[in-house]
């Protein structure tokens, strides 16, 4: 790989240049500028594909390559080189980001066709692609952090793309602020790592000194092996906080639902397929640290489990098609976090699920966008129904995405999600039963809410009227990306799972692991999973097949809670926002009451003193002359006194 890594910077370069041209080009590019964006993303994807083939062709031991570009900063003991690391893990992400990204670029050309700011939209999309590639290609935590912040910025700009509507601007701000909380975690983790090992680059931290690349991280004897348990746990928990912020995991999950305020292609690319999975990437990349910190791993598993159930429950109650999908994303990333927390046994599956999820969830979101496009931007599923007749291609592509997310064999999701459930059932004591059971139940709930979504949208009776809405199939540029993603949803998982191709492929990055037997036999688990999924899907279909009231019924306590996102905003407001506002109010009062008023009093006092002293200046020359004479007299008297008494006093 060392011979071709010189091309790797161009992966980032193309979209970065695209963004710069689009942003600086101004209105002159309004008519055709979006094609620059498409071109930049496609170029990156093609280059990525070429690098992928070169990597497949290379010997597994030589698939990890680092390239140092230049010294970024040198301060005391800290030397940060700006460098890229190309290995199977980053390559997987490069392909996911550029391929899905390019499809979504094409889709957006049509989706945003009537938006006056389409050029700016494509500039932000390119910026996002560039930042995301920096994130995954970075060879040190600090460079990763640059990409991490870059995708956060792109996400903020795109959520608030239609910021003339106040809720959108608020949603963007919410996402940005909650992400900052997570970023604190990453900064703390970096500080701890640097304090204890003096290095931030993956090479020094994870790789064996002289054994070279290709040994795999599991056997690594890099600088992290010198960390003591407590430090490793602290670093692991800080990294988890970072991952929670970026990946919308409990307790920092509240921003994802609101992030759906952005244009739908953005929801598909950033808030489903790529950016929100960056947290999982971070954890898998930091595998050697987590391996040394069982407590942190346990917390990660708990967070993942809580989130996967949490998101699934919310997904069941949402009538907004995009918010239902957002809740589903949260839940699916919960699965990935769960897998990542299981240690080496789960890393490969986490990334595998991330990859298949990237395809089928992007496809589902694009389908949702297509439905909205045909339904005058209506998002309430209670107003849909029977849309399969008028938009058949969208319905078919979403149908396969639906099969994939349900985990029906042989579609993509089955190969990855089933493995995660299997891995969750591995271990000793109470843990496999609790986590595995939760993952299993989660699969059932997933089946329910996804079937609910499909039934309310595509099946049943139409709940829209023809003259008011005129649903129609979307143009070719929107449909084809959906079709390609649907093909991915059908086949990708099976192809990559065949003969463990994908897990073997990731070995240079995440290490090789012997297979562990789950507490229940594999066929039993598989059967149970499929049974739960089928039951969930059937319940969903039967419940929503018939009439769906236009107004949501009151529902049970749980439904009402889920509609309000299980009170996540209420909790955040009660625990963080209100106390914060209280502190601010106190500080403002203290500032005006004590500081400002104190200085005010001082100023008034000085002014009064000045006014009083001013009266000494009478303006009468004779008065000044008198004071001069008096002064001279006093000085003279003093001199005489000193001259008379001085010598005696001195003696």
């Amino acid at each position: 790989m060392n011979d071709v890594i010189g091309y790797a910077p161009w992966l980032v370069g193309f979209p970065l240049v695209g963004a710069a041209v689009l942003l600086l080009g101004g209105r002159a590019l309004d008519k055709w500028g979006h094609w620059i964006g498409v071109l930049a993303s496609s170029a990156s994807a093609l280059l990525g594909g070429w690098l992928l083939f070169r990597m497949i062709g290379a010997d597994p031991a030589e698939r990890v390559a680092d390239q140092r570009l230049w010294t970024w900063m040198s301060a005391g003991g800290l030397d940060v080189d700006l460098g890229l690391r190309l290995d199977p893990l980053s390559m997987t992400f490069v392909m996911l980001v550029t391929f899905v990204g390019t499809l979504i670029h094409f889709y957006s050309v049509e989706y945003m066709a009537h938006d006056p700011h389409r050029r700016r939209f494509f500039a932000y999309l390119n910026l996002f692609i560039a930042a995301m590639l920096v994130l995954v290609l970075a060879d040190s935590y600090l460079v990763l952090f640059v990409g991490w912040e870059g995708v956060g910025l792109a996400s903020y700009l795109l959520i608030g793309f239609w910021d003339h509507k106040r809720p959108n601007a608020v949603a963007a701000k919410k996402a940005f602020v909650m992400n900052r909380v997570g970023d604190m975690g990453l900064i703390v983790a970096m500080a701890l790592l640097f304090a204890h090992t003096g290095a931030l680059d993956f090479g020094t931290l994870f790789d064996a000194g002289d054994a070279g690349a290709g040994e795999g991280l599991a056997e690594a004897t890099g600088a992290v092996s010198t960390l003591d348990q407590g430090t490793a746990t602290a670093v692991g928990l800080a990294l988890l906080l970072a991952a929670c912020g970026k990946s919308a995991q409990f307790p920092l999950q509240a921003w994802l639902g609101d992030a759906m305020a952005g244009p739908t292609p953005v929801s598909a690319l950033i808030h489903a397929a790529t950016m929100v999975t960056a947290g999982v990437y971070l954890l898998v990349r930091s595998g050697p640290i987590l391996d040394a910190a069982p407590t942190a791993q346990l917390v990660i598993v708990i967070v993942g489990t809580v989130t996967l159930i949490f998101g699934a429950i919310i997904g069941c109650a949402k009538d907004d098609i995009k918010k239902a999908l957002a809740a589903s994303t949260m839940s699916q990333i919960g699965y990935m976090m769960l897998a990542a927390g299981l240690g080496p046994v789960g890393y490969a599956f986490a990334i595998f699920h991330l990859l298949t999820h990237g395809f089928f969830k992007a496809g589902l979101f694009l389908g949702a966008g297509s439905v909205m496009h045909g339904m005058k931007d209506e998002v309430n599923m209670r107003g849909f129904g029977a849309l399969r007749r008028v938009m058949p291609l969208t319905a078919w592509s979403m149908f396969f995405g639906w099969l994939a997310i349900l985990g029906i064999p042989p579609f993509s999701g089955f190969w990855s999600k089933d493995k995660i459930i299997e891995a969750a059932f591995t271990g000793e004591g109470w843990q496999p039963w609790v986590f595995g059971g939760a993952a299993l139940i989660g699969a059932g709930i997933t089946a329910f809410y996804m079937t609910r979504l499909m039934t309310m949208t595509f099946w049943g009776r139409p709940r829209w009227t023809e003259p008011e809405y005129h649903p129609h199939e979307s143009p070719a540029l929107m449909v084809w990306p959906q079709v390609i993603l649907a093909v991915g949803s059908i086949a990708l998982g099976g192809v990559l799972a065949f003969g463990d191709v994908f897990t073997t492929w990731l070995e240079p990055s995440v290490g090789h692991v012997e297979h562990h037997e789950p507490v229940l036999s594999v066929p039993v688990l598989m059967g149970a999973t499929i049974a739960v999924v089928v039951v969930g899907a059937l319940v969903g279909y039967l419940m929503y097949r018939r009439d769906v009231p236009a107004e949501a019924p009151r529902g049970s306590v749980l439904t009402r809670a889920a509609r309000r996102d299980l009170f996540q905003d209420t909790v955040n407001e009660g625990l963080v926002m209100k106390p914060g506002q209280g502190v601010t109010a106190v500080l403002v009062t203290a500032d005006t009451g004590v500081v400002a008023r104190g200085w005010g009093v001082l100023a008034v006092g000085l002014a009064g003193l000045g006014a009083w002293l001013r009266r000494a200046q009478t303006g009468y020359v004779r008065a000044y002359a008198a004071s001069m004479a008096a002064g001279v007299l006093i000085i003279g008297a003093v001199i005489v006194l000193v001259a008379t008494l001085g010598p005696t006093a001195g003696a």
Binding site: R615, A616, Q617, G619, V621, R622, A629
Partner: protein
């Protein structure tokens, strides 16, 4: 020739001059008080120069006269200008710089 006589005379002259400056309102008279004080000091200079046999004091007296002459020119010009604008030569009328 007792030195005390000269010094006492100079002191009396100076006191008269100072009192004039402090008590009289007419600018011309105040001016005369100033001149009187200058001449009182001149007298002291000359006296001590004579006693010590040193010419420095006499030279200084000349300097004082020259400077006083120049000062009279400027001072009278100011007084005349003020008189033209205010129709008064009273120093108490010129109090625009009061606080």
């Amino acid at each position: 020739m007792d030195i005390t006589n000269y010094v006492v005379l100079a002191c009396i002259l100076f006191a008269i001059g100072a009192t004039t400056v402090l008590l009289r309102r007419n600018a011309i008279v105040v001016f005369m008080g100033v001149e009187l004080m200058l001449n009182a000091t001149n007298l002291v200079f000359v006296t001590f120069a004579r006693i010590h046999g040193d010419l420095t004091g006499q030279v200084l007296a000349f300097f004082v006269m020259v400077v006083a002459a120049a000062e009279v020119v400027v001072g009278l010009a100011i007084i005349v200008t003020i008189f033209r604008t205010r129709r008064s030569a009273s120093v108490d009328d010129v109090n625009l710089l009061h606080g």
